[in-house]
Chain length 276, copies 4
Amino acid sequence: MCRWNAYVGEPLVIGELLYRTRHGLIDQSLHARMGAETTNGDDFGVGWYGAGDRAVPARYRSVNPAWNDVNLRELADHIESPLFMAHIRAAVGSPVQQMNCHPFRHGRWLFVHNGLIRGFQAMRRDLLLEVDPSLFLGIAGSTDSELLFHLALTFGLEEDPLGAMERAVAYVEARGGEHGVEHPVQMTVGIADGERLWAIRYSSERSSRTLFVSADLDAVRRLHPDNERLQQLSEGDRVVVSEPLADLSGAWLEVPESTGLVVANGVVEQRPFEPR
Amino acid sequence: MCRWNAYVGEPLVIGELLYRTRHGLIDQSLHARMGAETTNGDDFGVGWYGAGDRAVPARYRSVNPAWNDVNLRELADHIESPLFMAHIRAAVGSPVQQMNCHPFRHGRWLFVHNGLIRGFQAMRRDLLLEVDPSLFLGIAGSTDSELLFHLALTFGLEEDPLGAMERAVAYVEARGGEHGVEHPVQMTVGIADGERLWAIRYSSERSSRTLFVSADLDAVRRLHPDNERLQQLSEGDRVVVSEPLADLSGAWLEVPESTGLVVANGVVEQRPFEPR
Amino acid sequence: MCRWNAYVGEPLVIGELLYRTRHGLIDQSLHARMGAETTNGDDFGVGWYGAGDRAVPARYRSVNPAWNDVNLRELADHIESPLFMAHIRAAVGSPVQQMNCHPFRHGRWLFVHNGLIRGFQAMRRDLLLEVDPSLFLGIAGSTDSELLFHLALTFGLEEDPLGAMERAVAYVEARGGEHGVEHPVQMTVGIADGERLWAIRYSSERSSRTLFVSADLDAVRRLHPDNERLQQLSEGDRVVVSEPLADLSGAWLEVPESTGLVVANGVVEQRPFEPR
Amino acid sequence: MCRWNAYVGEPLVIGELLYRTRHGLIDQSLHARMGAETTNGDDFGVGWYGAGDRAVPARYRSVNPAWNDVNLRELADHIESPLFMAHIRAAVGSPVQQMNCHPFRHGRWLFVHNGLIRGFQAMRRDLLLEVDPSLFLGIAGSTDSELLFHLALTFGLEEDPLGAMERAVAYVEARGGEHGVEHPVQMTVGIADGERLWAIRYSSERSSRTLFVSADLDAVRRLHPDNERLQQLSEGDRVVVSEPLADLSGAWLEVPESTGLVVANGVVEQRPFEPR
């Protein structure tokens, strides 16, 4: 459906990852190779934390296709950030409007989702009721993604992102079962709080959308000594992407099925993702 | 907050009422005189029934200000309709996005609202729960107006528009009371089904936004024998407006406080509007 | 670059050709098969003549991708026209903005273009100077297509559309030669005046974008007696398209290289297109 | 027609001047007090230089009304700049589209304009011809303002901004005279190159739109010892505005009729502006 990228590391000009990589995210908005749809032209959004105060991330979201948005290009060339996420959407069912653009935000938290909740229209009312009333007003749009985020917030995302996502997914799968939906959840998800980045690859049918994390830079640099872009990145910088940004052998590690990652201080930790 | 117009009668080019009257709706989008806000520039929408099949009205809705929308001008000049409604919005609280633009639609029904539900954010979850689950999916946006429409649909709008609106308003007022909101409802409302037009002026505090209906044309024409526009209208044509379109003495009758109208076949019936 | 369709015949609901044909124009906005680009998502426009007065055609143009434009779907379902043109654009060089959307209009004339003027940026000033000063103000955007239209108007399009287009193309080719551009013009063009439809397939290199015209309906119907849509069309109805709307053998005739068509009263006339 | 603000000094969060002053620019987009129009809701733009490299300023421009643009609010809260300009437009004649939004840009230069060239449609072709062919391609839109900027560039703006503007205005006035336009130019103009800020107040009829520059901060602070915002500003910070941002006595100096300013390193120099 969609594509997303996330970066955490030394402050980087956002455009480096959006525009200036072969098969970067903006190129993928026209020509995705590994997604369910080749065109991701319905809308997009970028969320980023400042180098200083990281209490409230900024967002730029628009219902133009990413590839022709003049403002996105301007911002991408001028904004530098130590932690940012970008998302391009091929809308499925939900209206194309700004409040439906990722990333979603709650306080210092950002959230992006590639995938869908199957049978969402039938389940939507039930899921909305489960959202904590104090969080209910935060739901400004009509997507399955935003509702999944608010379920996870209800289930404790701010204390334990991966655990809360497991509980939220389990809840959706239980409701889906009641509505006769065989495989309710398909997702890769990115979550950030200004310091850390979480990423999840999961689907009820255990056949999830692709997700990759950049390898240890030192190793990659030795393999590609002539690549200028790689030389600019720092040791602990990490990128998580729906599909690889370039065809560098050894540069991208596929995140395994049903797995959650935490990236912090340049270290990637991995653990099984098991909704229950 | 907003302004709206509705017309029912012989097929009329929409632009006649939007652009080609002194102080027409588009002019009001910049310079409303009687509204709570002088600028109604956040978004707009027009809904109209075709001269033939009236089963599904068409809509054109946009988040541009009405006064500079090139497409609206094109459509207004070329579309002729026996029954149409137009609405311009000064957004209060709700995001400016297409799904929040009036008129709202359900099957053959159109609905516009000027005013607000006070304390809506606090009540929103309760009100959503009261909407019939089969109607729940029809709520695509996040406004108080669209939710009020779906409450009225839940309470029987398709059989008895004025009665259902009374029940819906009473329900909102009861919930408002629980939340400590003194005067929850402020509204003028327009409703159409392709043949008839209903209009309501009401507020919990009995101090409602203005609403006017055009007088019997025959009388008005005798008063203004030189007015070309009036000569073009037919006997049974009626216009309902938030504020008068021109300063023709005798042409506009103020709808009384707490009153509902039905306009059908050129006849205007009036009755008290009493939520309970 | 782009795709376009044009229809002339008995009044037809516009959506029949935009949405309700296999591989219709809106589908082509996502998945064009024969174009230089597979995605035509930058902007679009529709122009149509009313069944009554055909003096000024109406337009609806937008910078949204055609496939997700809610208003386009509404209009396409409700507007009936005896002569209309629709265009979807994959922008090359020119900004995506409403004034750059086809069809362009001058009085009763509509104009759509698929292709480009190579070396346009270098030639633009020269070409602008050639436009008749009285027509100069009609140029509201910055595309090669709109400028080509105004050159043709300067060279007599309103009296002799094909001849004026030949002169305009010859002029561009001459200027291109001066700027060292080898093959300056690549185009299929559609032109209408409310009664007739002209179509041209031409390129300086004699390797032009595809263009097709629907065959005589009677013959096609005999080949496909079970096709409901074909049965609805009338004898003299004709469609001109960048690529065929469905895979009906015998239904589409490819317009030959360097050829101009006139469609009027159900009759298609064809002649060589020879800029000089 | 329009309103604009410019700031030069210590890096400042843009939103401080756009949103967080009484009667700030966004408030003026709805309720201008001193302008020719009270509503400036057609489009807007912000241009800013980074704290580091000032070679290419960034821009965010949009055809939404400034007061409801969610992205503008996000950016204004997160972007800090030592030199920025913001502009809100009430369009007169020119289409509302992104390429017509101020500020205009050429290399490191930014340009905003409040006012108009009278008789512009009649003069447009002549003025375009005077633009240096090497600059011609930089004209992406259709406004009088952008063309005035390119005339000044043609006449040497990059070497001598005020002198080039005098020559450009004199040229327009001469062409206007030929076309029988009595007072062709009405303007306040802001120009920046990353280090310095120029501002001009001028009109052919010597009755120009208002323009103000902030007074020496030290003096103002002594007058308003309790104003927190003033305490945050540094000695050399300067603001130039179409109308005062708050009613602080002594804080705003009206720029005299027919005058040009240069603001650099906290010093404001003033000289007569005399087109010839």
